[in-house]
């Protein structure tokens, strides 16, 4: 098939409407008579509630209703957790708190009023009698005996313990030439999607139909869960996901507010809307990461690893959201990185704390693993006095060792880690960088180079490994006028699949990209789907589109053969047209082709297909014929559409190398980037511009974790980083020029050869940046620093050592 669009930097078809402000986010959808909801949220991290008095709030102007935990908790089912782990303790998570609150931001009551301001003001009129309880903030302390217990009936704060990995770890560590250990922290992060959450719900009593507009990544899974929570038939519930201003995993969830709004709409018979404020977003939308652990590494004198053990306490928060306990298991799967490590063990202790739940945040467990492995390799290099690149090379599996089985139980299908590494070394001129670093150090300048070679699990995933199915669906239709409609079950929310799926379809069908429309995010229009997360939309959802098109073309081929009166084998498809080949073409060549432009057909009626005497037919001709159904092969069903549910046989394993070069300002501890070079391999690339965009965003969020971001709760469980004044997301001026490049190793897991790229940046970049800062401070004996590495930390190291060293 001619590749006219695939592989090209096609501009996003989504952008004009977004740039012009013509897109519709949840808050842009205005329904008449809409009421607005505001939540009263707990100001204590842990307290018993002895009473909630809403009488004053009910008297406030504009207030229509106030609901408390007692009103709603019995009528709406618990907020679901889809992660199934052995012996997992699952607290009863109601949509509103009843007799206890477990974290700052825990919703207690919902005020419904005629406008947003009246609702918010009335929240202040509710009085809650709190009786404070001891607070559990520190995850490690939560696991200790004697800690206050959050969910008393469980007896302790340990939600689960899990041990995974293969190989004899004890023997591997015991027999190693050297053993190293290091405390490793992946701090809590806030996903901070630009658009906070938002829900609009409308109930039509006549039709008995509830429609919920929500800013989510998973409209169909949400529909199923809401139907169960609210107790209504799933086929009377419709979830619509309009434009979504970023998710990063924080909207891969089912939230209390979504169910509550649906239920309130049914109680009041009027539409209700809630748009999350940024403060609520920081308090009550899931956080990411939150792992505190220790690694033990065994290695030989040549730098090859014999074993890796990671004992980790995962800070789950007070409740499980959809995937909360499962995230650390992804860390366990990924602990081999892109290396041959014969023995690996992870021991996870998932603990409850008086904080909002952690859950999937861009990378979801894999950035944590990559950070652990990459820090381990750097520690080995420092211990043995080897170059960080050389240590990595010595631990890589060679290209002929694929498919490669890890001690974490995964099969890496393809990979050529040295190729990506070599390209990154060449692009950064690594040898020269090291020489320059040497000279800089002689001048007293603090320059550091950090290298990270990563692999990640993408295209989540085979259904066997997923809590709620890992396939994705697509329907491709050619309408009677020849326009192509794609319905995808993936629910893209900023990734640009309206463009990339149209590229695939336009090439495969030989039509103009402008003739393809991609529809998603409406459960009443689109067949069931899973959603967009885990770098899966193109690798799994795009493949579903591709195979649906192939199915559709099989039918079109038969129709074309029937109409042209030829044998199917004598037809070939090219440029959107089925043509007779070989002898039949020669014979048919004498018949002049009638040309009847569609425009000449009577406007009021569908044009008749002009098939008489033709030796080729366009898809448009065939689509019309298929819908008019007068000239179809016997027993063929009319219409021209195909639906396919694609089940991947494995994950995909994109990989790459990131190199960061930083210089430290001695007087201020400020970290300045000199270079940032990345080579990523996400398999075949549909649209390089979209891939670059994903890498850019990922690196920026990784940079946030490495240097700036950290959710801080004080010892009373109060959220100190409650606004964007206190929680430091990277600003444009903090971001270096990113020198991006690629290697392209297609995966055999799907026919497109696509692996996925949504999370690569956050996975590859964090360790590279940390390594660069550590390397810059190596002359001070630094081998590791905890994130976020703040100027203060750096300055203390530099200034203490400088004054101590008598400079």
């Amino acid at each position: 098939m001619a590749q006219k669009y695939v592989g090209q930097r096609v501009k996003r078809t989504e952008d004009p409407r977004l740039i012009k402000g013509l897109g519709h986010y949840v808050d842009d959808i205005r329904l008449p008579d809409t009421l607005h909801v505001s939540f009263l949220r707990s100001m204590y991290a842990h307290a018993r509630i002895s009473g909630v008095d809403v009488s004053e709030a009910l008297k406030a102007p504009g207030v229509v209703a106030v609901y408390t935990g007692r009103d709603a908790a019995e009528k709406i089912g618990p907020v679901p957790c889809a992660a199934a782990l052995p012996d997992l303790k699952v607290p009863d998570h109601r949509v509103l708190a009843t007799d206890r609150v477990y974290f700052v931001g825990h919703p207690i009551a919902a005020v419904v009023a005629t406008d947003r301001y009246a609702a918010r003001d009335a929240v202040d009129l509710i009085t809650v009698d709190y009786e404070e309880l001891p607070v559990v903030v520190d995850a490690e302390a939560a696991a200790l005996e004697g800690s206050p217990v959050i969910h008393e009936h469980f007896g302790d704060n340990i939600a689960y313990r899990l041990t995974a990995g293969e190989g004899d770890i004890e023997a591997a560590l015991a027999s190693a030439d050297r053993r190293l250990k290091q405390r490793i922290i992946n701090q809590r992060l806030a996903p901070v999607a630009m658009e906070p959450r938002g829900v609009l719900a409308r109930y039509l009593p006549g039709e008995e139909e509830l429609t919920v507009w929500s800013s989510t990544q998973i409209p169909h899974l949400l529909r199923t869960q809401l139907a169960l929570m609210i107790g209504m038939p799933e086929n009377k519930l419709r979830v619509i996901t309009p434009e979504v201003g970023g998710g990063f995993g924080s909207k891969l969830n089912v939230y209390a507010e979504e169910a509550l709004l649906g239920w309130i709409a049914m109680q009041l018979g009027r539409p209700v809307k809630w748009i999350e404020t940024r403060r609520e977003n920081m308090q009550a939308t899931i956080h990411g990461r939150g792992q505190v652990g220790e690694i033990k590494i065994g290695c030989r004198e040549d730098g090859t690893l014999t074993g890796l053990r990671y004992n980790v306490v995962a800070d789950l928060g007070a409740y499980h959201q959809l995937l909360t306990p499962a995230i650390p298991t992804l860390t366990g799967l990924m602990l081999s990185g892109c290396y041959k490590i014969p023995a690996i063990q992870i021991n996870v202790t998932g603990v409850f704390t008086n904080k909002v739940a952690t859950d999937a945040y861009r990378g979801a467990g894999r950035p944590e693993a990559t950070y652990v492995v990459e820090r381990a390799l750097d520690l080995v290099a420092a211990e043995l006095g080897l170059d960080v690149v050389e240590v990595r090379r010595r631990n890589f599996p060679k290209p002929d060792e694929f498919p490669f089985k890890t001690a974490t139980g995964l099969f890496y299908d393809t990979g050529d880690y040295e190729a990506a590494l070599d390209k990154a070394l060449a692009n950064s001129d690594y040898t020269k960088l090291r020489e320059e670093q040497k000279r800089a150090r002689e001048e007293g300048r603090l320059v550091g180079i950090g290298v990270s070679t990563y692999v990640e699990i993408c295209a989540l995933g085979p259904s066997q490994a997923m809590p709620a199915g890992g396939w994705e669906s697509a329907t491709v239709r050619i309408e009677p006028t020849g326009k192509v409609t794609i319905l995808t079950g993936a629910s893209p929310h900023g990734q640009g699949q309206e463009t990339s799926f149209a590229q695939i379809a336009a090439d495969e069908l030989g039509v103009r990209i402008g003739d393809v429309t991609v529809i998603h995010g409406d459960t009443a229009i689109v067949q069931y789907g899973i959603g967009t997360f885990g770098s899966r939309a193109t690798a799994v959802g795009g493949t579903a589109v591709y195979i649906a098109i192939e199915r559709l073309k099989e039918k079109a081929h038969k129709i074309a053969a029937h109409i042209l009166g030829a044998d199917a084998s004598s037809l070939a498809f090219s440029e959107g047209r089925y043509s007779l080949t070989g002898a039949q073409v020669a014979a048919g060549a004498e018949v002049p082709e009638p040309v009847v432009p569609v425009a000449q057909a009577p406007a009021a009626a569908l044009p008749e297909p002009q098939t008489e005497g033709k030796r080729s037919l366009t898809l448009q001709d065939i689509a019309l014929a298929a819908h008019l159904a007068k000239e179809l092969p016997p027993d063929m069903e009319p219409g021209l559409s195909a639906t396919y549910f694609f089940e991947p046989k494995n994950f995909t394993f994109p990989f790459g190398t990131h190199i960061a070069v930083v210089e430290i300002e001695r007087d201020t501890g400020e970290i300045k980037f000199q270079r940032y070079v990345a080579v990523d391999d996400c398999g075949r690339v549909i649209n390089p511009m979209l891939v670059d965009g994903q890498i850019h965003g990922g690196i920026v969020q990784a940079l946030g974790q490495a240097l700036y971001e950290e959710v801080v709760y004080d010892e009373q469980g109060q959220l100190v980083t409650g606004t964007l004044m206190d929680y430091a997301v990277p600003r444009a001026k903090m971001i270096p020029w990113l020198e991006l490049d690629r290697t392209e190793t297609p995966t055999p897991v799907n026919p497109l050869g696509v692996k996925g790229v949504g999370e690569a940046g956050t996975i590859g970049a964090t360790p590279a940046i940390v390594a660069a800062v550590v390397d810059a401070l190596a002359p001070f004996g630094v081998r590791h620093l905890d994130m976020p590495i703040k100027p203060e930390t750096v300055w203390r190291i530099v200034s203490q050592q400088t004054s101590g060293g008598g400079r």
Partner: protein, 177 residues
């Protein structure tokens, strides 16, 4: 969160002490204090309008004086709740006579805040508390300088600011000598 500081008052220690235990004086001097009513020996209920930056609101709470050692020391225990959150804390006040008509108050306390004021204002609270302490002691100085029988001084924001500024100038002048 630790809050501490010292403040110099141009008034005799005895007078300062009397002002510090007089609920009507305290009510006039505490910025934003709308009510201070005695509920028992050395305990009061209060309504306070206060805030940090854009986070403002009304707090209802209790104030208790403990460990009174006139005229040198007491311990202040506060807890309050309102729409912007809650605060509770305790602190020690030490009064030292630094010569004729000059008293230095040292204060040191530990305060916990919760709710919106914690998530939005925490990093500004120490600054705000210092400012409130400054306002309070400046007003208290004026009260302590008032002779018996005189009407109590006026304290509005600008008056207090002017007094604070003139006190600052005095100290600077003295320091430069």
């Amino acid at each position: 969160m630790k809050i501490e500081g010292t403040h110099e008052l141009r008034a005799a220690r005895e007078r300062v002490w009397q002002s510090l235990v007089d609920p009507s004086v305290l009510q006039r001097c505490i910025p934003g204090c709308e009510r201070l009513e005695q509920t028992g020996e050395n305990s009061y209920s209060t309504i306070l309008r206060a805030g940090v930056g854009s986070i403002k609101g009304v707090f209802q709470g209790n104030v208790r004086l403990e460990d009174l050692r006139p005229p040198a020391h007491y311990r202040l225990v506060v807890d309050g709740k309102g729409q912007p959150g809650f605060l509770k804390g305790a602190g020690e006040l030490e009064l030292e006579e630094m010569g004729e008509g000059l008293t230095v108050i040292k204060y040191a306390g530990d305060v916990q805040v919760g709710g919106t004021i914690a998530s939005v204002g925490q990093r500004m609270i120490q600054g705000a508390a210092k400012m409130m302490a400054s306002q309070f002691f400046t007003a208290l100085e004026a009260e302590a300088q008032t002779q018996a029988g005189e009407p109590p001084p006026q304290h509005g924001f600008f008056r207090t600011a002017l007094r604070w500024l003139s006190g600052l100038l005095r100290r600077i002048m003295r320091g430069s000598k």
